[in-house]
């Protein structure tokens, strides 16, 4: 990009980057301009260094909005015009955030491609001006600096542009994105965050002065590898090979479902091959095209949904949960413990046997230790976090618990038993939350002395990776109980949807018919690998057969049986006997080492489990050729999912389509590029989906009958879930 140089704060990322070049003509500077009031940017002059402070009003983060753009270029023009100013520092007044990126609302407000292209060009002009500035400019970055913010602050590297990765500050320095790091300060004469920003500014000013006085060289020392790489890239043949390789890799990762990365490669290619002007033009056009795509709309929708699901709509709970107790140290229980202890919650993990407890505690430890290996935690922090966990076999200490989450085996009578046991020992204010994936909470609460304190908290496995938490309220659950559950979930870093009680709630209920279809498709002779590739190429992050293995065949069987009983024929399709036979042979999926695939510790390659052949053969169904094309198979799965999701909204299980989309994408891996089932209906067209459903209904019957709400949407094209 440019001849640039920077400094920055570790772990919370404050960095400097210095932009500089030659040839700008200066005008006279009017001293009064520093006093002008601007809403997004203000600047002052310290000695001969202009300090430009970015501070978007009424917002936690700075975003690249139109107003910020115009004020910024105004300020920069004044700085360039001034004789007194020899260098400048760009800094944010918000702790922990430089510029988070482009303002999504601004992009969403754009109606046409031209509008977006124009916005992009405006932004480019500023960045270009910064790059070509005669006066050294130091970007002092404290906290997140993403997207456009990174372009202002830091020259972008190819890999970062492609994957939208978050990188830690020390990595950024190694990658040469920033020139210097400033570590966050502790308490002094002011609150640490405040003083850290001040300090960053002080150091940045020294650097700006040094650059202006030519005491500091803006050139970075390149390592040998870097020099060699730079040399190699001057050879056209090598370049072509690099483009090819990168494109291949990107296609493999995105399966062609996300248009952005390939366009970025195009832009970089244009920039390198045809010069930067062509590159900029190409960039703004492609950016405009991208913003207008369905994928972009879907992803922006998810962003808004996620923001919504990170709020507690029940308000603050009366009492903060500080002591948490978890019953059951299985995968789920230990996972919940893991995301709780590192947030400072004192957590009791209880199980009935020492073996199970040991395994659970080890899981929590391993989760923390993996972070140590990745240098996200020190071993000391790990130990200190781990000390928040108490493993035990009895109910000692439950008298202090503010919330108990049970994650015992999915068996109603067992859940009843622990509920009664727990209620005998917990204090009056303590909440009882059940982590069940399918058992109705009201049935669990039926034996409770205080049903207003009973709620469902459905976590997703693996708990430390899956962002979703589905909270289930019964008619008797009090508002304060809900507020408390949401508060705990938010503390654990979860994205939360709140749904009404019912068999399978929302997520499990949507998944069940799709799983039933998975079984039927397998029975029809599609092999699991083929099915996996069909589903992943549709945008699911995990293939359908692999998903069954990951969830656990026994769990899937349980859910299929329970929900099958309630919903009857509509949840039919595949023969549940398949799951029953797998369970009886011990093919429980990843946890038992065998499912549709064979899993071995340390082996990445997945081989099909050949013992499944006989089971599949014995249950074989003749495929119906009119609905068995690859596309039909994909749509049979997705339409059943979508139909059930819409039915949940129709029945009031879901409060809003946004929560439905978030739940499906974050909890079940519904393709993010489609934005969730409701966004999908909007963008793809309700009519087309109903047509598909009717086609499959003709072949298979009731399981594909479109629900009323979906039919309504198909009948009146103006009806949208998102207006």
């Amino acid at each position: 990009m440019v001849a640039c140089r920077a400094i920055g704060i570790l772990s919370r990322f404050s960095a400097f980057r210095i932009l500089r070049s030659r040839g700008y003509i200066c005008r006279n500077f009017t001293g009064s301009s520093a006093l002008l009031t601007r809403t997004h940017i203000n600047y002052g002059v310290k000695g001969d260094v202009a300090v430009v402070r970015i501070n978007s009003p009424n917002s936690k983060v700075n975003t690249l909005s139109k107003e910020l753009h115009s004020e910024f270029s105004e300020v920069m023009n004044e700085i360039w015009a001034s004789d007194q100013i020899r260098s400048a520092v760009l800094i944010s007044s918000k702790p922990g955030c430089f510029i988070a990126g482009a303002d999504i609302n601004m992009l969403a407000a754009c109606k046409t491609l031209q509008e977006v292209t124009q916005l992009s060009q405006e932004a480019q002009r500023i960045v270009e001006k910064l790059e070509k500035s005669t006066k050294p400019i130091v970007a002092a970055i404290n906290g997140s600096c993403l997207g456009g913010g990174l372009e202002v602050g830091v020259p972008a590297a190819l890999d970062m542009m492609l994957t939208g990765r978050s990188i830690r500050a020390d990595r950024a320095k190694k990658m040469g994105l920033v020139d210097q790091l400033v570590e966050p300060l502790g308490p002094g004469l002011k609150p640490p965050e405040e003083r850290t920003i001040e300090y960053l500014e002080e150091v940045a000013i020294t650097f700006a002065k040094g650059l202006a006085d030519k005491k500091i060289s803006p050139k970075r020392d390149k390592g040998l590898v870097e020099k060699l790489t730079a040399y190699a890239m001057t050879i056209p043949f090598v370049r072509q090979q690099v483009y090819k390789k990168v494109e291949e890799k990107v296609r493999k990762q995105t399966k062609g479902l996300y248009p952005a990365p390939l366009k970025i490669i195009d832009v970089v290619k244009t920039g390198i091959e045809q010069g930067s002007d062509a590159g900029y033009l190409c960039e703004s056009q492609k950016f405009g095209e991208l913003v207008m795509t369905k994928e972009s709309k879907a992803l922006m929708g998810l962003y808004h949904g996620q923001v919504l699901c990170k709020k507690n709509k029940f308000g603050a709970p009366q009492k903060d949960v500080k002591h948490l107790a978890i019953l059951g140290a299985g995968l789920m229980g230990a996972g919940i413990a893991q995301v709780s202890v590192d947030k400072g919650l004192k957590t009791i993990l209880k199980d009935a046997t020492l073996t199970a407890l040991d395994r659970g505690q080890q899981q929590v430890f391993k989760g923390l230790n993996d972070k140590v290996k990745k240098k996200a935690l020190t071993s000391f922090e790990r130990d200190s976090i781990f000390s928040n966990l108490t493993g035990q076999l009895d109910y000692q200490g439950f008298e202090k618990a503010d919330m108990v989450i049970e994650a015992v085996f999915e068996d109603l009578s067992l859940k009843h038993r622990v509920l009664k046991e727990v209620e005998a020992v917990i204090p009056d204010h303590c909440i009882f939350a059940s982590n069940t994936s399918a058992l109705p909470i009201s049935e669990i609460a039926a034996v409770s002395k205080r049903p207003e304190k009973v709620i469902g908290m459905h976590y997703f496995s693996p708990v430390d990776k899956m962002q979703l938490l589905e909270i289930i309220t019964t008619e008797k659950t009090s508002k304060d109980t809900s507020a408390s559950a949401v508060a705990v979930g938010l503390k654990q870093g979860k994205v939360i949807i709140v749904v009404k009680d019912g068999p399978g709630f929302y997520t499990t209920r949507c998944l069940a018919p799709m799983m039933s279809e998975v079984i039927r498709i397998l029975q029809e002779g599609v092999d699991p690998k083929k099915l996996d590739s069909l589903t992943t190429s549709f945008g699911f992050p995990v293939g359908a057969a692999t998903l069954v293995d990951e969830v656990g065949v026994d769990v899937a069987k349980h859910v299929a049986e329970d929900l099958g009983k309630v919903f009857g024929e509509r949840f039919g399709g595949g023969n549940p006997e398949l799951l029953t036979q797998m369970v009886s042979k011990g093919f429980l999926g990843r946890k038992s080492g065998k499912g549709f695939y064979i899993y071995q510790e340390g082996v990445k390659r997945k081989d099909l489990n050949s013992d499944m052949d006989s089971i599949l053969a014995s249950l074989k169904l003749p495929p119906k050729s009119e609905v068995s094309s690859d596309e039909d198979i994909q749509f049979r799965l997705v339409t059943r999912f979508v139909n059930e999701a819409v039915m949940c909204l129709q029945e009031g299980i879901l409060a809003t389509p946004a929560e439905g989309d978030i739940g499906a994408v974050f909890g079940l891996g519904f393709p993010p590029c489609l934005g969730g089932p409701f966004r999908f209906v909007d963008l793809y067209g309700a009519q087309k989906i109903v047509d598909r459903l009717k086609k499959y209904e003709a072949a298979y019957g009731k399981q594909f009958t479109p629900c009323q709400l979906l039919a309504d949407h198909a009948n009146s094209p103006n009806k949208k879930f998102y207006q």
């Binding site: 400094i7 210097q180 400033v182 570590e183 300060l185 502790g186 308490p187 002094g188 004469l189 002011k190 609150p191 640490p192 003083r195 300090y199 150091v203 020294t206 650097f207 020190t378 000391f380």
Partner: protein, 472 residues
């Protein structure tokens, strides 16, 4: 009376000083007593009913040398032994009356992990006197002394030798864990086959040595780095730090030249070393040229404003007051209330003195104004100045110390008047005794009743103790 011959123009305020002495029976003089009373000592003495008074008979130390100089071929117990023989010589204490010996040390020589015992045996103490070694980073010697105080006060012992030693010229550098494991397994291997299979596991990277940790174990941050961040948090400038370091070196030089560092005993290595060799007053210009040592390139902590790696040992004879008097000694000082504190080892690693000072003063019923001699351990100029700023800040006191008002600033004219760790050197395990002896000797020389000793230590810990001059 020394004090009466001390030129009055050197005293901060004549009346304040006058009053101080007026209440001390030994310093009575009608002339002084007539001075108007502005302030009064809060207490006459810190003796407590039913608790034995503990006194320092005397204390000595070897010259503190830059590591890698004259002591470089010694072992730690050699240095410790020199301090012990020096103490025997200075006090002529009969070796059989010593009940117990305690030494502090930080980086342990593995061969002499109980360095107190090894040194005592070689120094001619009775082999019937038990000895143990304590470690508490830079306040190890403080821990040795206060352990002794506890043993005496509780009536378990009458006579204690406490001290400390550090030899930074040599540190244990280990084989890597992998190599150690291989060597230990080889030891246990029974057959040639087993041995060969173990040897086949050897990789060249096993040979990478493991240096003793220079960084805080809990945070992996080196102390200099932390000091630099601390200085930045309290907005202490590079110039202020250099000025403070220059003050320390100038005062140490003056004290050395005037022969005030009377606790130093010569040590024959074979050549006789008589003086500390780290005192090098420079100029601010010279100091300004140095590059930052830890946070590069914009940090403020440099080699010139930090304490240097030092070799040295110290030892003190501590007794129950009645025992000392019965043996005909004229003690130098009482060891009074003391306090250990600890706080966040990341962001407040070196703020121990700020936390410990008000606590020990409150415990003793004294105020900052009652203290005549401050002896604070100077790890870094930035650390001392950050502590000053913290002690002078109401905001810090309210938000981090749970106090309503600031601790208050120790007056600089009473502060480390004979130099400090920055200039005299800082052998980690030995500094505590040097601080106490400096306070005791200063009180005798400059006059005054109470001294306050304070120090920070790795692990975010800190210590403070009141030293009361023994009436002459």
């Amino acid at each position: 009376m020394t004090i009466l011959t001390y030129p009055f123009k050197n005293l901060p305020t004549a009346s304040k000083w006058a009053l101080r002495f007026s209440i001390r029976p030994l310093s009575c003089s009608s002339q002084l007593r007539a001075a108007p009373a502005v302030q009064t000592k809060t207490k006459k003495t810190l003796a407590k009913p039913n608790i034995r008074n503990v006194v320092v008979v005397d204390g000595v130390r070897t010259p503190f040398l830059l590591s890698g100089t004259s002591y470089k071929d010694l072992m730690p117990h050699d240095l410790a032994r020199a301090a012990l023989t020096g103490l025997l010589h200075r006090t002529s204490v009969p070796k059989e009356v010593v009940d117990y010996i305690i030494f502090g040390t930080v980086i342990q020589e593995v061969k002499t992990s109980n360095v107190a015992r090894e040194a005592a045996l070689g120094a001619g103490f009775s082999d019937k006197t038990p000895a143990h070694t304590v470690t508490m980073a830079c306040i190890s010697a403080n821990q040795a002394m206060t352990t002794g105080v506890g043993l005496i006060a509780s009536g378990q012992c009458d006579v204690i030798v406490a001290g400390g030693v550090e030899l930074m010229s040599d540190v244990p550098i280990r084989h890597s864990r992998k190599m150690r494991k291989l060597m230990l397994d080889l030891n246990k291997a029974k057959s040639m086959g087993q041995r060969l299979s173990l040897i086949s596991k050897f990789r060249f990277n096993f040979l990478a040595p493991e240096l003793p940790a220079v960084s805080e174990f809990s945070t992996s941050e080196t102390m200099g780095h932390s000091a630099d961040r601390l200085a930045a948090a309290f907005a202490v400038s590079r110039l202020e730090q250099d000025e403070y370091a220059l003050r320390s070196h100038s005062l140490a030089k003056k004290a050395q030249d005037e022969g005030l560092l009377s606790d130093v005993v010569p040590f024959k290595v074979p050549d006789t070393v008589t003086k500390d060799n780290g005192i090098r007053p420079s100029s601010l210009e010279q100091m300004a040229k140095l590059k930052p040592a830890f946070i590069k390139p914009y940090g403020t902590v440099t080699a010139a404003n930090s304490s240097f790696l030092t070799d040295g040992a110290s030892a003190m004879l501590i007794m129950a007051e009645e025992k000392a008097l019965a043996m005909g000694y004229k003690p130098k000082a009482y060891l009074r209330d003391f306090m250990y504190v600890s706080q966040d080892p990341k962001d407040q690693l070196l703020l121990g003195p700020t936390y410990a000072t008000p606590k020990v003063l409150e415990k003793a019923g004294l105020t900052m104004n009652d203290i005549d001699a401050f002896e604070f351990h100077e790890a870094f100029s930035g650390q001392i100045l950050a502590n000053f700023k913290a002690m002078d800040s109401d905001w810090f006191a309210e938000n981090y110390m749970g106090r309503k008002t600031k601790v208050g600033l120790p007056p600089l004219e009473k502060f480390n008047n004979w130099g400090g760790s920055l200039s005299l050197g800082h052998p980690f395990g030995a500094t505590g005794c040097r601080l106490v002896m400096a306070a005791a000797n200063r009180l005798r020389k400059e006059g005054g009743q109470y001294g306050l000793v304070a120090a920070c230590a790795a692990g975010g810990q800190g210590h403070a103790m009141i030293v009361e001059a023994y009436p002459k």
